[in-house]
Symmetry: D2
Subunit: 362 residues, 4 copies
């Protein structure tokens, strides 16, 4: 109800503000018998972490995740898994300047109006730092999906400002700080970031998530379609303003004869649908795109008001990413993995009788 | 879990196939004391109905909704509301041709794989006919929102094929069969539809939904953000492949200094955000766009396979819309209204203590 | 949220007042491929129906259930199942006498206070008539449980007033109008009912539900234990004031050495636990007891107040059961069956990887 | 789904095994603006803690709760609250003796069968230690209920073995280690415990929970009745085998004329119903009773089997309560408080329009 939970069978509930004692989450419904240690999550947490490269913010947040419960002798037990990341970088900063201001483009105003009270330190619960726990939970889902079905969920940067990336070489994605799958575009991205830093401004980004080896049949008709739940999960990432499945908004100008994916005895002959038909996975690659707005935390002065409703100017100092979209790559992967994991388990619940085989962990 | 329910406080659960005895739904959690009769729902049902104009399919589906329970002396009682629409046009058609075929672009294949059984008549549960009950439930939400907060949820066609509509005159929307807010574009739309009919093909569409007078504070942070739930609701409509909030995918090339909406003592100075900040409504108009694929039910022959995995050709005869997007206008309004209604009630649950006023029904 | 739904995977949502057009429910999450016709539900509906015998109320409610959707060619399709029972006995009675009165022991006062409005005809939504849909939905669960696992859920009257029934002969239960498993007690029950009718009074009852062949492992630890969910389901039946699992309140005076069920290589050596350990089914018979209060609808005059808060006297005329507990036998079976069905599917969702076998429908 | 969450608006999700690193929980949906510090929870945690008196087990578990998030400047912010209790007493005990045994009366066998893996240290997730987090979460609910409505939720021991307690003096409850409301019975209880310790056996108990000042209207009709949810919450406490509301099982022998509570202009004239009519609170005291089985952890040798299915004998050494029911007093209070809190917020969600007043935090 208060919205800090996602999933129905594989349920992830998170807590934690930017500057509280710790972030944490409970992963409930994970199948028992999955080998799991902190290391399985740390890799993705490190990919998300700011300060990893010169292109992203230089704040130090070691993001070391601890498993508090639900795992015994390095194996999930089927009971709820407790995870925690302590906030180590909590130095008592001076927030007096922004405490009573509503930063434009941020959630300061809406939180204040909704709750009548607000943890103004670093955006509180609306901070991007909150997404660390999603990445940790997503890593569990990714591991299970890979192990049981060979499902692989990966994402990359497909556009930043005017730099559009059309060639996808998965081997390149982890070779640069932009999660850019086209080595020939890295310099252009680099240049754009430098320019923005100099100008104290920021830029939007587009990401693409691909899930391979998804079995046919995941997703529920009507409201909880697989695409609807992916849209929910991706639009729920900070700064996301648009989500597409398959051809997305390009369908507006497409003909039916062009869009529909023909089938042959060898399988589908194209994938305009993005791997989902009638809300249910078709066995093809699932392809989703998301658009992330440019961060509002920039040094260009902004016009705003304070709690008293008076005019004010705000300048966000500090180390901020000129493009928050880059760091969202592991978050987007995590969210899609959580949705797939949940739907895989939901599918088993109702359809075990007609499933031709039940893949096993071991 | 099986996905036929949407909402948490204002909950809508539907049933019904294209050619079963009846479609129905249960609306649970509607506040008591709302004046309600069938007529309140019939208007939107008629707007959605095929056969209304020469541009949409000519099948006759009177779609007459009946209130079976939950309303006493024309007033909601707070108990669950039962709604039903009988399927009157159930003539025993000959389905032998498509019974064993997987129509390309349809959910035939995925339903068959998921359930091992399938009501092949008219698409069964995956039929667009299912959306009638969403419109009925949405009409209840629309009435309540209007009455208690003056919230108005409306939609229009913003693009069909290459015909893009940029001028919005709400008075025009109901004056033509396209829900087109620009009278000067109606001829071009008309021409396009005629051309498609002749060619036996179809086209995609883009719709825009606007909600006015939404109070500040609706939406829950983290997973159940208002934008995430709107994305879930809109992506859950048949044929939708993309959803945008505010500037949507345009943010990819925007600067932070351009995108963030400045605030002055008189209010926000722009609305790039589409009325939602940090997942919570800001009091500005909520603006969402959605892209609908061209229907796959066309007379252009399509390549496919049958249940035995053999090659086959499929031609969809019968009366089908060349642009299913048009009829989705009242459906999109209904889905956004259901989401807003649900979040309005959710907000009250947790935040009643800090709400400055509780609007009353009377 | 508004409480008209039970279950998480196998979800039952109901609507309908005592005197509305119809009662109905949606059963969502039923596995596909189950053979199902109206006849499968009608038997239990007839067992519940008033007017069946001379011992229960003589109102005529044919309770004919119709399947509106979700079943195709007499087989469940996996989509939501719509069920309806039309209210045929809606003659416009004169309710002017009780319209403004709060009948003691009824929900008139609490409904009025909660909702500010109330369907006063026959108790509206609080009428026992509402339970008909539970019985219909429960019949689907019973059929599936029986077919896939051989699970049998049955109930009987174990006490009425001072007449306690200790001998259980399942063959007797359906041989008399009391669902009494001991033929030698039928005369005493008969006599008690006659006496109460003459006095215009009513009496409480105790029922026992037994589920056989339940596999080990159903139920979730901590909050959604199998016993907790059974308690929720049984306490949710009109008039129920107490629920016990296994030895129930007798445990208060038991020693640990006496209560705990020893295990041998041949299995458990006793069943004080009632088939549930740590909230999870142990493979033994699940045994639950419930206590139902005497109906407040009696001809003995009762002291009460009206809507204006003034003193008033109420006499409930009409045909009412002197012991509502009797008719609750099929309802109690239905509720336990729904809970078991739900937990069976929940169990499969998370634990499919470790289940040694997945029973199949066919 | 996996059952580690309770509540719909006020949601409590817990994690933690007996011997893991920590226990924790997330309280989601708590209204903002509630003053809250660790001290508010510590009092009830101390009441639950073993080792508090000579009558309960002497294990040292300091149970110090930490607020990790969701509270800012000693006030709830409306975001999810993270709580943690570190397990300090984790000395590496030798579990080799019970590792492969299924202790009779414990959940060892059912967990092993359900999950295929089991944290055998101290019962793992099925340990009574898990209830510490319920008490912490319940303390938040208790504080809010008290502050906003003056609702008070308290419990006491009403029977232990044959020692029945009929006189209730609330002032006595916290004056003795048994939560016994009748000073004259303390010696008898003391004697019984000594006897059991000597014999290495245990005994059951009955508790009574009373909630005062509950407003009329809490609870939802049909499935989520207030009494049904209380039954769910109480039956979900370890060792509970029976739950009663109001007169409970005594209704079996009552007449309708005796049971139904008459109303006068001054209010109800009796409270057989236990404060709930039709599943909705009536404004009277809510009264519930629960029966707890005697612990199976006794030194009397028990007959059982090991994982290989061979006969074995088990003797539970260590410091265990002869009556676990005593320590359940604060747990029962917590569970009822959580249910009331949840229903209070649920009620506001749907019925704000008809509520005559919205109580405020401040």
């Amino acid at each position: 109800m208060a919205g800090n939970t996602i999933g129905q069978v594989f349920r992830v509930t998170t807590f934690g503000e930017s500057h509280g004692l710790a972030l944490g989450c409970i992963v409930d419904g994970c199948p028992p018998g999955l080998a799991l240690t902190e290391a399985d999550m740390q890799h993705d947490l490190d990919r998300r972490r700011p300060g990893t490269s010169k292109y992203t913010t230089q704040r130090r947040e070691p993001d070391e995740v601890k498993i508090l419960a639900g795992v015994f002798e390095d194996q999930t037990t089927g009971t709820s898994i407790g995870l925690m990341i302590e906030n180590t970088d909590q130095r008592s900063k001076d927030y007096s300047q922004i405490k009573d201001l509503f930063r434009p483009g941020h959630a300061d105003y809406t939180y204040e109006q909704k709750y009548g009270v607000r943890d103004y330190r670093g955006g509180g619960r609306s901070s991007a730092r909150e997404t660390a726990m999603r990445v940790a939970a997503g890593a569990i889902a990714k591991k299970y999906l890979k192990q049981v079905h060979g499902i692989e969920v990966r994402a990359y940067l497909s556009q930043m400002g005017d730099v559009s990336i059309d060639t996808v070489d998965w081997d390149q994605v982890e070779q640069n700080a932009f999660f850019c799958p086209d080595a020939s575009k890295v310099d252009a991205l680099d240049e754009l970031i430098r320019k923005l830093k100099k100008e104290g401004d920021s830029i939007g980004a587009k990401l693409t998530v691909v899930a391979e080896n998804v079995p046919v049949g995941l997703g529920e008709p009507v409201f909880d379609r697989l695409d609807a739940d992916i849209a929910h999960a991706l639009m729920g990432i900070n700064a996301v303003k648009g989500v597409e499945i398959g051809d997305g908004f390009d369908v507006v100008t497409q003909r039916g004869s062009e869009h529909r994916d023909a089938m042959s005895p060898q399988g589908f002959k194209s994938n305009h649908a993005g791997g989902i038909l009638g809300g249910i996975s078709s066995g093809q690659d699932i392809v989703a795109h998301l658009a992330l707005k440019p961060t509002s935390s920039i040094t260009v002065p902004g016009e705003t008001i304070n709690k008293q409703g008076e005019s004010a100017e705000v300048v966000t100092r500090g180390r901020h990413d000129p493009c928050v979209g880059i760091r969202a790559v592991p978050i987007a992967e995590a969210m899609v993995a959580i949705v797939l994991m949940d739907h895989l388990l939901r599918h088993r619940a109702q359809n075990a009788d007609v499933m031709t085989s039940t893949p096993k962990l071991k």
